[in-house]
């Protein structure tokens, strides 16, 4: 017990003395000095160390770079039936005129029902191109329109097929967080795509949660959240929807 207490105090002292020096070290490229004084059972030892200043040709030179989410083609490494998403934003506070300059974030799952994410202790690779798949951000044009190139989303347990959307004004203030649902029926894109094993969709519709049973969509009796989907499995599908915000 006594031993562990000493160790605790020792560690605490090391932590307390080194942190301010580390902060200093981060400020500039100079010699970093770290001196730690440790007292253990009556003896005092002082260890000093310093590291060499980086001495190299200048560069690489940093440039301001937008978030990697800013892209129209959000497929990255994901495969599936081709899918174009057209979203138009209109402003309820301006006679339902098109809202230009709004930031639109969308995200949806891949054909197998998985989102890009990391959990627990996993790390990302610097294969930057694939990390944030099926997530994108665009700014609405003069017609209030944004377009994304993607793959037709699959589904996962207890949810109908859907696309998440977060709409911000041009200053980045959240205006609306919502989800877009899909038309259903035996000839619907959802039914045909999920039966398309040739395109890697393996789930079919067994166990699928339809909009009427979906916790998010079941109160949308007018279909205000449902996109219009046109196309075919071979040619790909396009979804169009108009959403109204108070901006």
């Amino acid at each position: 017990m006594e031993h562990s207490r000493k160790n605790f105090l020792k560690n605490f002292l090391i932590g307390a003395t080194s942190v301010p020096l580390i902060l200093e070290a981060c400020k500039k490229d100079t010699v970093t000095e770290t001196t730690t004084t440790t007292t253990t059972t009556g003896t005092t030892t002082t260890t000093g160390s310093c590291t060499v200043t980086p001495t190299e040709t200048g560069g690489p030179f940093p440039t301001i770079t937008p978030s990697s989410l800013v892209r129209s083609d959000i497929r990255l490494d994901r495969t599936g039936v081709a899918f174009t998403i057209n979203i138009t934003i209109k402003n309820k506070n301006n006679g339902c005129a098109a809202l230009s300059g709004a930031l639109i974030d969308i995200w949806h799952c891949d054909k197998d029902g998985y989102y890009s994410e990391y959990g627990g202790t996993s790390m990302q690779t610097v294969d930057y191109t694939a990390v944030h798949f099926l997530r994108g951000r665009q700014t609405t044009d003069a017609n209030g329109l944004v377009t994304f190139t993607s793959i037709f989303p699959g589904w996962y347990q207890s949810r109908a097929t859907h696309i998440h959307i977060h709409i911000y004004n041009s200053a980045g203030t959240s205006l609306l967080i919502s989800q877009i649902s899909f038309p259903e029926g035996s000839t619907s894109a959802v039914a045909l795509v999920n039966a398309s094993t040739a395109n890697g969709y393996t789930k079919g519709m067994t166990g699928y949660t339809y909009n009427a049973s979906d916790d998010v969509f079941k109160d949308d009796t007018t279909g205000a959240q449902t996109g219009t989907v046109t196309g075919s499995v071979s040619a790909g599908y396009a979804l169009a929807i108009t959403l109204y915000v108070a901006a």
């Binding site: 770290t34 200043t53 190299e56 940093p62 990697s68 990302q124 990390v131 997530r135 911000y168």
Partner: protein, 170 residues
């Protein structure tokens, strides 16, 4: 003697005291991204600090990943080299392909409390020996030449750690 393959981890802290241009860009970009993304988890605008959001909305743990999208472009600019850490000749030498981004602290109304870390995980190195507080290492992938293998001396220092070890009997 077993051959020891290690990975070094460098936890680079970026906050309001960071002075380098790259660090400042990362600070600005990650704060802007945080302000956007946190709104999803704070729809009732009840919380101001990242810690409060995390405490009350466990799903906000995902913000580490979501905000990391703001960093990827800057990581590309590093050209696979871990910044700041030099060998005893003063040269950057550690290569990385893996990293983990974390938000340490942030606050919707107080930019000054925004603090993030990028954990750089080096590619595998062979740890040959320890000389004082220096590790003698070489690239695990480098070819052994007739006159030996090219090595680097790197000093143990705060925020630099060995984060994986694989022993192989040779």
């Amino acid at each position: 003697m077993p051959k020891r393959a290690i990975r070094l981890c460098y936890r680079k802290i970026i906050d309001t005291s960071s002075q380098k241009t790259w660090d400042k860009y990362v600070f600005e970009s990650t704060y802007a991204e945080f302000l956007l993304q946190v709104q999803f988890y704070n729809q009732e605008k009840k919380y101001n600090s990242f810690a409060e959001v995390l405490l009350n909305i466990p799903a906000a743990e995902k913000l580490h990943f979501l905000v990391s999208a703001a960093v990827t472009g800057y990581l590309q600019q590093l050209g696979s080299r871990i910044p700041d850490i030099t060998d005893n000749l003063g040269k950057h030498f550690l290569n990385f392909k893996n990293y983990r981004f974390e938000i340490i602290n942030s606050h919707i109304k107080n930019k000054a409390s925004h603090q993030v870390a990028i954990n750089f995980i080096s590619e595998p190195l062979i740890w040959h020996d320890t000389i004082g507080s220096y590790l003698l290492v070489s690239d695990a992938g480098s070819e052994k030449k007739e006159d030996g293998v090219i090595t680097n001396l790197v000093q143990l220092q705060p925020f630099l750690s060995i984060c994986s070890l694989k022993e192989e009997t040779t």
